[in-house]
Protein backbone atom coordinates (compact mmCIF):
# COMPACT_ATOMS: atom_id res chain seq x y z
CA UNK A 1 0.00 0.00 0.00
CA UNK A 2 1.88 3.09 -1.18
CA UNK A 3 -0.23 5.24 1.13
CA UNK A 4 1.51 3.59 4.10
CA UNK A 5 4.90 2.86 2.54
CA UNK A 6 5.42 6.44 1.43
CA UNK A 7 3.85 8.05 4.46
CA UNK A 8 7.05 9.38 6.00
CA UNK A 9 8.32 10.58 2.66
CA UNK A 10 5.25 12.38 1.36
CA UNK A 11 3.20 13.63 4.28
CA UNK A 12 4.87 17.05 4.40
CA UNK A 13 4.32 17.70 0.71
CA UNK A 14 0.78 16.30 0.89
CA UNK A 15 -0.17 18.52 3.79
CA UNK A 16 1.50 21.59 2.37
CA UNK A 17 -0.32 21.40 -0.95
CA UNK A 18 -3.54 20.30 0.72
CA UNK A 19 -3.35 23.38 2.94
CA UNK A 20 -2.92 25.59 -0.11
CA UNK A 21 -5.77 23.88 -1.96
CA UNK A 22 -8.25 23.77 0.91
CA UNK A 23 -7.28 27.26 2.05
CA UNK A 24 -7.91 28.69 -1.39
CA UNK A 25 -11.20 26.85 -1.75
CA UNK A 26 -12.27 27.85 1.76
CA UNK A 27 -11.54 31.55 1.39
CA UNK A 28 -12.26 32.12 -2.30
CA UNK A 29 -15.12 29.70 -2.82
CA UNK A 30 -16.54 29.11 0.65
CA UNK A 31 -16.25 32.62 2.08
CA UNK A 32 -16.52 34.71 -1.07
CA UNK A 33 -18.33 32.98 -3.94
CA UNK A 34 -20.86 30.85 -2.05
CA UNK A 35 -22.42 33.77 -0.10
CA UNK A 36 -22.71 35.71 -3.36
CA UNK A 37 -24.40 32.82 -5.11
CA UNK A 38 -26.76 32.40 -2.17
CA UNK A 39 -27.47 36.13 -2.18
CA UNK A 40 -28.27 35.93 -5.89
CA UNK A 41 -30.73 33.11 -5.28
CA UNK A 42 -32.29 34.96 -2.36
CA UNK A 43 -32.57 38.17 -4.37
CA UNK A 44 -34.18 36.27 -7.20
CA UNK A 45 -36.66 34.60 -4.87
CA UNK A 46 -37.47 37.97 -3.32
CA UNK A 47 -37.88 39.53 -6.76
CA UNK A 48 -40.15 36.73 -7.93
CA UNK A 49 -42.23 37.08 -4.78
CA UNK A 50 -42.40 40.87 -5.25
CA UNK A 51 -43.31 40.51 -8.91
CA UNK A 52 -46.04 38.04 -8.10
CA UNK A 53 -47.37 40.39 -5.45
CA UNK A 54 -47.29 43.28 -7.90
CA UNK A 55 -49.09 41.20 -10.51
CA UNK A 56 -51.71 40.24 -7.94
CA UNK A 57 -52.12 43.87 -6.96
CA UNK A 58 -52.51 44.97 -10.56
CA UNK A 59 -55.02 42.25 -11.23
CA UNK A 60 -57.02 43.33 -8.20
CA UNK A 61 -56.86 46.88 -9.46
CA UNK A 62 -58.03 45.85 -12.92
CA UNK A 63 -60.86 43.88 -11.39
CA UNK A 64 -61.85 46.85 -9.23
CA UNK A 65 -61.86 49.22 -12.21
CA UNK A 66 -63.86 46.74 -14.25
CA UNK A 67 -66.29 46.53 -11.38
CA UNK A 68 -66.51 50.32 -11.26
CA UNK A 69 -67.03 50.47 -15.02
CA UNK A 70 -69.73 47.84 -14.81
CA UNK A 71 -71.40 49.78 -12.02
CA UNK A 72 -71.30 52.96 -14.10
CA UNK A 73 -72.76 51.18 -17.09
CA UNK A 74 -75.49 49.71 -14.94
CA UNK A 75 -76.20 53.12 -13.44
CA UNK A 76 -76.39 54.73 -16.85
CA UNK A 77 -78.68 52.00 -18.10
CA UNK A 78 -80.92 52.39 -15.08
CA UNK A 79 -80.98 56.15 -15.58
CA UNK A 80 -81.85 55.75 -19.24
CA UNK A 81 -84.61 53.36 -18.34
CA UNK A 82 -85.93 55.80 -15.74
CA UNK A 83 -85.89 58.65 -18.27
CA UNK A 84 -87.66 56.50 -20.84
CA UNK A 85 -90.23 55.40 -18.31
CA UNK A 86 -90.81 58.97 -17.19
CA UNK A 87 -91.20 60.14 -20.77
CA UNK A 88 -93.58 57.33 -21.49
CA UNK A 89 -95.61 58.14 -18.40
CA UNK A 90 -95.69 61.79 -19.25
CA UNK A 91 -96.81 61.06 -22.78
CA UNK A 92 -99.47 58.73 -21.42
CA UNK A 93 -100.63 61.35 -18.96
CA UNK A 94 -100.73 64.01 -21.66
CA UNK A 95 -102.68 61.73 -23.89
CA UNK A 96 -105.14 60.94 -21.16
CA UNK A 97 -105.52 64.59 -20.30
CA UNK A 98 -106.15 65.47 -23.91
CA UNK A 99 -108.59 62.61 -24.27
CA UNK A 100 -110.38 63.71 -21.16
CA UNK A 101 -110.53 67.25 -22.42
CA UNK A 102 -111.82 66.15 -25.77
CA UNK A 103 -114.29 63.82 -24.10
CA UNK A 104 -115.51 66.62 -21.91
CA UNK A 105 -115.89 68.91 -24.90
CA UNK A 106 -117.74 66.28 -26.81
CA UNK A 107 -119.93 65.68 -23.78
CA UNK A 108 -120.75 69.39 -23.39
CA UNK A 109 -121.45 69.68 -27.06
CA UNK A 110 -123.65 66.66 -27.04
CA UNK A 111 -125.44 67.98 -23.99
CA UNK A 112 -125.93 71.36 -25.62
CA UNK A 113 -127.17 69.70 -28.78
CA UNK A 114 -129.49 67.51 -26.78
CA UNK A 115 -130.73 70.50 -24.84
CA UNK A 116 -131.31 72.39 -28.10
CA UNK A 117 -133.02 69.38 -29.50
CA UNK A 118 -135.22 69.03 -26.42
CA UNK A 119 -136.03 72.75 -26.50
CA UNK A 120 -136.83 72.60 -30.16
CA UNK A 121 -138.94 69.59 -29.56
CA UNK A 122 -140.80 71.09 -26.66
CA UNK A 123 -141.21 74.29 -28.67
CA UNK A 124 -142.44 72.26 -31.58
CA UNK A 125 -144.75 70.35 -29.28
CA UNK A 126 -146.02 73.59 -27.79
CA UNK A 127 -146.54 74.97 -31.25
CA UNK A 128 -148.22 71.79 -32.26
CA UNK A 129 -150.52 72.06 -29.25
CA UNK A 130 -151.36 75.61 -30.16
CA UNK A 131 -151.98 74.74 -33.75
CA UNK A 132 -153.88 71.61 -32.83
CA UNK A 133 -156.05 73.35 -30.27
CA UNK A 134 -156.82 76.15 -32.70
CA UNK A 135 -157.51 73.61 -35.35
CA UNK A 136 -159.70 71.72 -32.92
CA UNK A 137 -161.66 74.92 -32.04
CA UNK A 138 -162.12 75.65 -35.67
CA UNK A 139 -163.08 72.10 -36.60
CA UNK A 140 -165.48 71.83 -33.69
CA UNK A 141 -166.92 75.29 -34.52
CA UNK A 142 -167.38 74.38 -38.17
CA UNK A 143 -168.82 70.94 -37.50
CA UNK A 144 -171.04 71.75 -34.56
CA UNK A 145 -171.31 75.40 -34.79
CA UNK A 146 -170.60 75.51 -31.11
CA UNK A 147 -167.90 77.30 -29.67
CA UNK A 148 -165.23 75.56 -27.71
CA UNK A 149 -163.27 77.49 -25.21
CA UNK A 150 -159.65 77.78 -25.96
CA UNK A 151 -158.63 76.28 -22.63
CA UNK A 152 -160.89 73.28 -23.11
CA UNK A 153 -159.60 72.61 -26.55
CA UNK A 154 -156.06 72.79 -25.32
CA UNK A 155 -156.84 70.34 -22.53
CA UNK A 156 -158.32 67.85 -24.91
CA UNK A 157 -155.39 68.16 -27.30
CA UNK A 158 -152.97 67.74 -24.44
CA UNK A 159 -154.80 64.56 -23.38
CA UNK A 160 -154.62 63.14 -26.92
CA UNK A 161 -151.01 64.12 -27.32
CA UNK A 162 -150.13 62.56 -23.97
CA UNK A 163 -151.68 59.34 -25.22
CA UNK A 164 -149.80 59.45 -28.45
Amino acid sequence: MPQLDQLALVYQSQWFWLAITLGTIFFVVGMWIVPRVEKTVEDRDAKIAADLEEAQRMQDEAEASEEAWRNRVNEARAEAQAVTAAAKEKAQADLEKKLAKVDAEIATRTEAAEADLAEARSAALAELENVASEATQEIVGKLTGGKVAKAEARKAVAGVLADA
Partner: protein
Protein backbone atom coordinates in the same frame (compact mmCIF):
# COMPACT_ATOMS: atom_id res chain seq x y z
CA UNK B 1 -0.89 -0.20 -6.55
CA UNK B 2 1.26 1.79 -8.89
CA UNK B 3 -1.56 4.27 -9.44
CA UNK B 4 -1.46 5.33 -5.78
CA UNK B 5 2.25 6.07 -5.77
CA UNK B 6 3.29 9.64 -5.25
CA UNK B 7 6.19 10.79 -7.39
CA UNK B 8 7.93 14.13 -7.55
CA UNK B 9 7.46 15.93 -10.82
CA UNK B 10 10.77 17.10 -12.30
CA UNK B 11 13.13 16.12 -9.53
CA UNK B 12 13.91 13.71 -6.76
CA UNK B 13 11.27 12.81 -4.20
CA UNK B 14 12.27 14.06 -0.78
CA UNK B 15 10.61 14.58 2.56
CA UNK B 16 10.02 18.28 2.09
CA UNK B 17 6.79 20.27 2.04
CA UNK B 18 7.64 22.05 -1.18
CA UNK B 19 8.15 19.04 -3.45
CA UNK B 20 5.66 19.33 -6.30
CA UNK B 21 4.28 15.83 -6.71
CA UNK B 22 1.66 14.30 -8.98
CA UNK B 23 -0.63 14.44 -5.96
CA UNK B 24 0.01 18.19 -5.63
CA UNK B 25 -0.58 18.64 -9.34
CA UNK B 26 -3.97 16.92 -9.16
CA UNK B 27 -4.88 19.02 -6.14
CA UNK B 28 -4.08 22.10 -8.22
CA UNK B 29 -6.12 20.72 -11.12
CA UNK B 30 -9.04 20.07 -8.76
CA UNK B 31 -8.61 23.58 -7.36
CA UNK B 32 -8.60 25.08 -10.86
CA UNK B 33 -11.68 23.08 -11.90
CA UNK B 34 -13.52 24.17 -8.75
CA UNK B 35 -12.55 27.82 -9.16
CA UNK B 36 -13.55 27.88 -12.83
CA UNK B 37 -16.81 26.11 -12.11
CA UNK B 38 -17.72 28.34 -9.17
CA UNK B 39 -16.73 31.42 -11.12
CA UNK B 40 -19.78 30.69 -13.30
CA UNK B 41 -21.94 31.44 -10.27
CA UNK B 42 -20.62 34.99 -10.02
CA UNK B 43 -22.55 36.21 -13.09
CA UNK B 44 -25.44 36.85 -10.72
CA UNK B 45 -27.96 37.09 -13.54
CA UNK B 46 -31.59 37.28 -12.50
CA UNK B 47 -32.40 34.67 -15.13
CA UNK B 48 -29.55 32.19 -14.73
CA UNK B 49 -27.89 30.41 -17.62
CA UNK B 50 -27.14 26.69 -17.41
CA UNK B 51 -23.76 27.20 -15.82
CA UNK B 52 -24.96 29.66 -13.21
CA UNK B 53 -27.97 27.45 -12.49
CA UNK B 54 -25.64 24.47 -11.96
CA UNK B 55 -23.56 26.44 -9.45
CA UNK B 56 -26.73 27.60 -7.70
CA UNK B 57 -28.10 24.06 -7.51
CA UNK B 58 -24.84 22.82 -5.98
CA UNK B 59 -24.65 25.70 -3.50
CA UNK B 60 -28.28 25.20 -2.55
CA UNK B 61 -27.73 21.45 -2.16
CA UNK B 62 -24.84 21.87 0.29
CA UNK B 63 -26.61 24.79 1.96
CA UNK B 64 -29.57 22.48 2.54
CA UNK B 65 -27.26 19.97 4.25
CA UNK B 66 -26.20 22.57 6.82
CA UNK B 67 -29.70 24.04 7.15
CA UNK B 68 -31.41 20.71 7.72
CA UNK B 69 -28.69 19.35 10.03
CA UNK B 70 -27.73 22.39 12.08
CA UNK B 71 -30.56 24.85 11.53
CA UNK B 72 -30.40 28.55 10.67
CA UNK B 73 -27.11 29.07 12.54
CA UNK B 74 -25.58 26.38 10.32
CA UNK B 75 -24.96 29.18 7.84
CA UNK B 76 -21.70 29.94 9.71
CA UNK B 77 -20.31 26.48 9.01
CA UNK B 78 -21.26 26.38 5.34
CA UNK B 79 -17.83 27.53 4.06
CA UNK B 80 -16.05 24.50 5.50
CA UNK B 81 -18.84 22.03 4.69
CA UNK B 82 -18.94 23.35 1.16
CA UNK B 83 -15.15 23.26 0.85
CA UNK B 84 -14.94 19.64 1.98
CA UNK B 85 -17.86 18.62 -0.23
CA UNK B 86 -16.64 20.20 -3.43
CA UNK B 87 -13.01 19.20 -2.93
CA UNK B 88 -13.82 15.54 -2.31
CA UNK B 89 -16.28 15.56 -5.20
CA UNK B 90 -13.82 17.15 -7.62
CA UNK B 91 -10.92 14.91 -6.54
CA UNK B 92 -13.05 11.74 -6.71
CA UNK B 93 -14.41 12.53 -10.14
CA UNK B 94 -11.12 13.74 -11.59
CA UNK B 95 -9.54 10.48 -10.41
CA UNK B 96 -12.19 8.49 -12.28
CA UNK B 97 -11.83 10.32 -15.58
CA UNK B 98 -10.17 8.41 -18.45
CA UNK B 99 -7.37 10.94 -18.89
CA UNK B 100 -4.97 8.04 -19.51
CA UNK B 101 -6.43 7.90 -23.03
CA UNK B 102 -4.60 11.17 -23.66
CA UNK B 103 -1.46 9.99 -21.90
CA UNK B 104 -2.13 11.91 -18.68
CA UNK B 105 -1.88 9.53 -15.76
CA UNK B 106 -4.78 10.26 -13.40
CA UNK B 107 -4.20 10.30 -9.70
CA UNK B 108 -6.98 10.24 -7.13
CA UNK B 109 -6.03 12.66 -4.39
CA UNK B 110 -8.74 11.34 -2.07
CA UNK B 111 -7.35 7.81 -2.21
CA UNK B 112 -4.72 8.89 0.31
CA UNK B 113 -5.59 9.03 3.99
CA UNK B 114 -2.99 11.75 4.43
CA UNK B 115 -5.57 13.90 2.62
CA UNK B 116 -8.89 12.58 3.90
CA UNK B 117 -7.47 12.13 7.39
CA UNK B 118 -6.43 15.76 7.62
CA UNK B 119 -9.83 16.86 6.34
CA UNK B 120 -11.61 14.75 8.95
CA UNK B 121 -9.30 16.16 11.63
CA UNK B 122 -10.25 19.67 10.53
CA UNK B 123 -13.93 18.74 10.85
CA UNK B 124 -13.26 17.18 14.25
CA UNK B 125 -11.32 20.23 15.38
CA UNK B 126 -14.23 22.46 14.37
CA UNK B 127 -16.59 20.23 16.36
CA UNK B 128 -14.36 20.37 19.46
CA UNK B 129 -13.72 24.09 19.09
CA UNK B 130 -17.38 24.97 18.65
CA UNK B 131 -18.43 22.62 21.43
CA UNK B 132 -16.03 23.91 24.06
CA UNK B 133 -16.33 27.52 22.96
CA UNK B 134 -20.13 27.46 23.04
CA UNK B 135 -20.74 25.24 26.08
CA UNK B 136 -17.44 25.14 27.97
CA UNK B 137 -17.00 21.97 30.00
CA UNK B 138 -20.73 21.46 29.74
CA UNK B 139 -19.92 20.13 26.28
CA UNK B 140 -18.85 16.89 28.00
CA UNK B 141 -22.52 16.24 28.81
CA UNK B 142 -22.66 15.14 25.17
CA UNK B 143 -21.39 11.79 26.39
CA UNK B 144 -24.11 11.34 28.98
CA UNK B 145 -27.30 9.97 27.46
CA UNK B 146 -30.30 11.98 28.59
CA UNK B 147 -33.15 10.33 30.45
CA UNK B 148 -31.26 7.11 31.21
CA UNK B 149 -31.04 5.86 34.80
CA UNK B 150 -27.79 6.66 36.60
CA UNK B 151 -26.18 3.17 36.52
CA UNK B 152 -26.88 3.00 32.80
CA UNK B 153 -25.37 6.46 32.34
CA UNK B 154 -22.19 5.40 34.07
CA UNK B 155 -22.06 2.41 31.81
CA UNK B 156 -22.90 4.28 28.60
CA UNK B 157 -20.78 7.41 29.00
CA UNK B 158 -17.50 5.62 28.13
CA UNK B 159 -19.16 3.98 25.13
CA UNK B 160 -20.44 7.36 23.96
CA UNK B 161 -16.98 8.80 24.48
CA UNK B 162 -15.33 6.05 22.45
CA UNK B 163 -17.89 6.39 19.66
CA UNK B 164 -17.22 10.12 19.65
CA UNK B 165 -13.47 9.64 19.44
CA UNK B 166 -13.85 7.12 16.62
CA UNK B 167 -15.67 9.69 14.50
CA UNK B 168 -12.62 11.37 12.94
CA UNK B 169 -11.21 8.01 11.95
CA UNK B 170 -14.40 6.74 10.37
CA UNK B 171 -14.96 10.12 8.73
CA UNK B 172 -11.49 10.17 7.17
CA UNK B 173 -11.24 6.49 6.33
CA UNK B 174 -14.57 6.26 4.54
CA UNK B 175 -13.76 8.33 1.44
CA UNK B 176 -10.21 7.01 1.31
CA UNK B 177 -11.31 3.36 1.45
CA UNK B 178 -14.09 3.89 -1.06
CA UNK B 179 -11.71 5.39 -3.62
CA UNK B 180 -8.92 2.94 -2.85
CA UNK B 181 -11.13 -0.14 -3.15
CA UNK B 182 -12.97 1.11 -6.21
CA UNK B 183 -9.80 1.86 -8.10
CA UNK B 184 -8.23 -1.46 -7.16
CA UNK B 185 -11.36 -3.27 -8.34
CA UNK B 186 -11.19 -1.44 -11.67
CA UNK B 187 -7.51 -2.25 -11.94
CA UNK B 188 -8.04 -5.95 -11.20
CA UNK B 189 -10.75 -6.29 -13.81
CA UNK B 190 -8.71 -4.27 -16.28
CA UNK B 191 -5.94 -6.81 -15.69
CA UNK B 192 -8.46 -9.60 -16.41
CA UNK B 193 -9.33 -7.95 -19.72
CA UNK B 194 -5.66 -7.88 -20.73
CA UNK B 195 -5.15 -11.48 -19.61
CA UNK B 196 -8.26 -12.65 -21.45
CA UNK B 197 -7.09 -11.02 -24.68
CA UNK B 198 -3.57 -12.41 -24.24
CA UNK B 199 -4.99 -15.95 -24.02
CA UNK B 200 -6.05 -15.65 -27.67
CA UNK B 201 -8.89 -18.12 -27.22
CA UNK B 202 -12.68 -17.85 -27.45
CA UNK B 203 -13.09 -18.34 -23.71
CA UNK B 204 -10.46 -15.69 -23.01
CA UNK B 205 -12.24 -13.26 -25.35
CA UNK B 206 -15.56 -13.84 -23.63
CA UNK B 207 -13.97 -13.32 -20.22
CA UNK B 208 -12.33 -10.14 -21.48
CA UNK B 209 -15.63 -8.85 -22.86
CA UNK B 210 -17.50 -9.62 -19.64
CA UNK B 211 -14.80 -7.96 -17.58
CA UNK B 212 -14.84 -4.96 -19.87
CA UNK B 213 -18.61 -4.59 -19.46
CA UNK B 214 -18.14 -4.89 -15.71
CA UNK B 215 -15.54 -2.11 -15.83
CA UNK B 216 -17.96 0.12 -17.70
CA UNK B 217 -20.60 -0.56 -15.07
CA UNK B 218 -18.11 -0.09 -12.24
CA UNK B 219 -16.88 3.21 -13.67
CA UNK B 220 -20.44 4.53 -13.57
CA UNK B 221 -20.79 3.26 -10.02
CA UNK B 222 -17.47 4.88 -9.15
CA UNK B 223 -18.83 8.27 -10.18
CA UNK B 224 -21.89 7.66 -8.00
CA UNK B 225 -19.71 6.54 -5.08
CA UNK B 226 -17.50 9.60 -5.55
CA UNK B 227 -20.54 11.89 -5.22
CA UNK B 228 -21.98 9.89 -2.32
CA UNK B 229 -18.70 9.99 -0.40
CA UNK B 230 -18.53 13.77 -0.80
CA UNK B 231 -22.15 14.02 0.35
CA UNK B 232 -21.56 11.70 3.31
CA UNK B 233 -18.48 13.62 4.42
CA UNK B 234 -20.31 16.96 4.24
CA UNK B 235 -23.44 15.53 5.90
CA UNK B 236 -21.54 13.88 8.77
CA UNK B 237 -19.49 17.02 9.31
CA UNK B 238 -22.72 19.01 9.54
CA UNK B 239 -24.31 16.46 11.89
CA UNK B 240 -21.24 16.40 14.16
CA UNK B 241 -21.18 20.20 14.22
CA UNK B 242 -24.88 20.11 15.12
CA UNK B 243 -24.01 17.91 18.12
CA UNK B 244 -21.49 20.52 19.23
CA UNK B 245 -23.87 23.44 18.64
CA UNK B 246 -26.97 21.98 20.24
CA UNK B 247 -25.53 19.15 22.39
CA UNK B 248 -28.41 16.65 22.46
Amino acid sequence: MHQFEIVALGGEMSASPFVFTNSAMWMMIALAVILVFMWGGLKRAVVPGRWQAAVEVLTDFVGDITRSSIGPEGRKYLPWVFTSFIFILAANWLGSMPFAVFGLKPFTVTSHFTITGVMSLISFAIVLGVGFWKHGLHFLSLFVPKGAPLPLQVFMAPIEFISFMVRPFSLGLRPFVAMFAGHILLKVFGYFVVQGLMAESAAGGIVALLCFLFIVFMSGLELLVGAIQAYVFALLTAIYINDAVHLH
